[in-house]
């Protein structure tokens, strides 16, 4: 009997998460961006549900890449990793021991970030070097220099982002660990049932701010969109995805928005996602609130180059370390 309830909880939560995450891009675009920019905006279902659906019905092409089959498999691997992150947040999976701990989640998020690097180095699109133009004419400057694709540039930037861009999220996750004294999600939730949510303390508030900035960096949203900014690298690692693989890319992004918000509610509010528990409403509210807030910030900012990116990450990380120290005291 218990097993059946657990199974329903796990599968039901995943299905509800999937359905809600399909609506998130549309809500972001219609209710926030369009209102701020004083225009009408698309219907809610268009960017999140209809666009991936339409991509499923397009004819599959072979992407221009040095390893096309690996390149096409990467979005699916990314989607699976994000589903696994959400899986181990559900309380019925806490029996898995070390896999349901903050360290394991950090590892899974790292895998998700490394995907950008691989995608970038494998893609060779027509918009960069392959555009036919008679460059090597007589009198051209530096005709012997090696030509590099946009996607390689994007891959380099992804590498840099792995090095310093994920500090805020990880530091914020460790605020909860410092306060509760254990890395296992089971203990973190149990502590918050007794002592109240981590958010309701000085360390918690600072940690929440740091987590929010890290959320924006992880999702490559403006102003931290240097990986796929329009002015130079067009779309970055995703340039050669077409048809159903592009649909996976769209779905992964919505799912990641939902999953990271759920992570926040587990670590800072002590509410685990369980469809059989009425507190699931709070998880849904947080999952709707985070993308909306992120959309408001991203509508009012340009793209940051390294000159602004480094100080922002450094400043936010310092706030995070202060929060950890406050949590330990």
């Amino acid at each position: 009997m218990d097993l059946i309830y657990s199974l329903i909880a796990v599968l039901g939560t995943l299905v509800v998460a999937f359905i809600v995450s399909l609506f998130l891009p549309g809500l972001e675009r219609k209710f926030i961006h369009a209102r701020i920019q004083q225009r009408v905006g698309p219907p809610i279902t268009s960017p999140g549900i209809m666009a991936p659906l339409k991509f499923f019905f397009k004819k599959t092409i072979t992407p221009e890449s040095s390893m096309p089959r690996l390149y096409n498999a990467l979005p699916l691997i990314s989607l699976i990793v994000v589903v696994v992150i959400l899986l181990f947040l559900i309380p019925d999976m806490y029996f898995a021991g070390a896999l349901a701990s903050v360290i394991a989640l950090v590892g899974f998020l790292k895998v998700e970030e490394i995907m950008y690097m691989f995608m970038g180095s494998l893609s060779r699109s027509v918009l960069s070097v392959r555009m036919p133009f008679p460059d090597k004419a007589k009198g051209a400057a530096h005709p012997e220099v090696h030509q590099s694709f946009f996607e390689d540039l994007s891959s380099l930037r992804a590498f840099r982002l792995i090095a310093f861009g994920s500090f805020p999220v990880y530091i914020a996750m460790f605020v909860a660990v410092a306060m509760t004294g254990s890395i296992y999600l089971q203990d973190i939730i149990a502590y918050q049932q007794v002592h109240g949510p981590v958010l309701f303390s000085v360390a918690g508030v600072l940690g929440a701010i740091v987590f929010f900035i890290g959320y924006m960096i992880l999702l490559n949203e403006y102003p931290f969109a240097i990986l796929k900014g329009k002015p130079d690298v067009v779309e970055g690692p995703y340039l050669e995805y077409a048809a159903k693989y592009r649909a996976y890319v769209y779905i992964t992004r919505g799912f990641l928005m939902f999953t990271l918000a759920t992570l926040f509610s587990v670590l800072f509010l002590g509410i685990a996602p369980n469809i059989l528990n009425p507190t699931f409403i709070i998880t849904l509210i947080v999952a709707l609130l985070f993308p909306m807030l992120m959309a408001v910030f991203s509508a009012f900012s340009p793209i940051f180059t390294y000159k602004q990116f480094y100080p922002t990450v450094a400043g936010v990380s310092i706030i995070g370390v202060v929060a950890i120290i406050a949590a330990l005291l």
Partner: protein, 148 residues
Amino acid sequence: MSLKSYSRGRAVHVMLVYTGGCNGCDIEIVNCILSPKFDAEQYKVFLTWNPREADVLVVTGPVTKHNEQPLREIYNAIPEPKAVVAAGACALMGGVYKNCHGDIPSEEIAGPVDNIIPVDAKVPGCAVRPQDIVAGLVSALPLLLNAD
């Protein structure tokens, strides 16, 4: 209405290619998509800069010699089903640049867009009006909806 044609009609991705025109049509098309007064997103038309993501290609300008090969490559990079909209007098018949005197064809342009890629919808004007561009896009939609 099958799921296929319903979803194709509710999310249309448009890519713009400028092939050497005077820029009037280009600004009007950017007006149509980026200006809140005309806002093509409310008609479920999204702008993209990646040919792999696009359904409809909007071409302006008489195709100059250096732009002929890029236009062909970009057209070939778009996955099926696709539609092409030629906007403006230059894209339709070469505009004022087609002939250098009377009926002597100019050697600088590779001809109107019709000579290079197959065109599905034609939008006239010099420069095109933003309202006409949306109408032209919508008229090319039935080709996408019913294609296999």
